[in-house]
Point group: C2
Chain length 157, copies 2
């Protein structure tokens, strides 16, 4: 349990971002980027595709762009990503381009994800950098926010 | 030949952007977005991942973000994309999220593309919007800029 602690506390920050996204009527997914050596959370975001009028403004893309901008590089191998849902194919590719070291995700998404779905991006030979992947961190909590959001959407249609 | 003319002239603008990208030492890929009914070229860009410190600043992502920002929406189904190289998996997914109607691309990229490679994104059930695809427009010209760029890189290593 002690070893898991930093991962849980970082995922909880990502969950806060997911909850804030839901309050903005955005798909409730949150992400944080952590500097591997210092352990500092250097960026945090929830989805903002509606607010920003930007279909690429997924939580993962936003924290990657934020940190790349601050660091002044398009590759940030010193950082690890925490995200409440398995990244989609767009984000999985961006994570590889950014050379993120490790991806810790919450809920699995075998239907629409980029990793455990049949897209299976990181098994493809075209992917030059394959991050380490740990899925299922606070899986139930991460998944239930999404389920509740989409159930409420259907009820209000 | 007459029917091809608008496609060729739009791809030539994308090629100009690719050439400008090469002058900036960026991977020489260019893209334009065209309003389908008016035929107006509303955005044009070349890769700027190095300059902008942004691994997501591929030509396609930039023109999509530009037009979405101007239109004020995350979906722009009234627009078609022209790009000198088959989109990568990240861009192919973003194109689908943006609901782009038709993608016209120049050179095929069966090794690293998102469409004709084994990623084959638009054949996957998770993709809710599959744009129409026309590849091979000015293929030789679009491909030769990339080949020359990477050959020169190798020579200067």
């Amino acid at each position: 349990m002690h070893k898991q602690e930093p991962h849980l506390s970082r995922m909880k920050i990502a969950l806060e971002e997911a909850r804030d996204a839901a309050l903005r009527e955005e798909v409730p997914i949150g992400a944080v980027l952590v500097h591997r050596n210092s352990g500092d959370v250097v960026a945090r975001a929830g989805n903002r595709t509606i607010e920003l009028h930007d279909p690429t403004a997924h939580a993962e893309i936003q924290v990657i762009r934020d940190v790349c901008g601050v660091v002044g590089a398009q590759r940030i191998p010193e950082y690890d990503l925490y995200v409440t849902l398995e990244p989609c194919p767009m984000c999985a590719a961006a994570i590889s381009f950014a050379r993120i070291g490790t991806v810790y995700f919450g809920a699995h998404d075998p239907k629409s994800g980029g990793i455990t779905s049949d897209v299976d991006l990181y098994s493809r030979s075209q992917i030059h950098h394959k991050p380490q992947i740990f899925g299922g961190i606070l899986e139930e909590e991460c998944g239930s926010i999404l389920k509740a959001f989409f159930q409420a959407k259907r009820l209000s249609l």
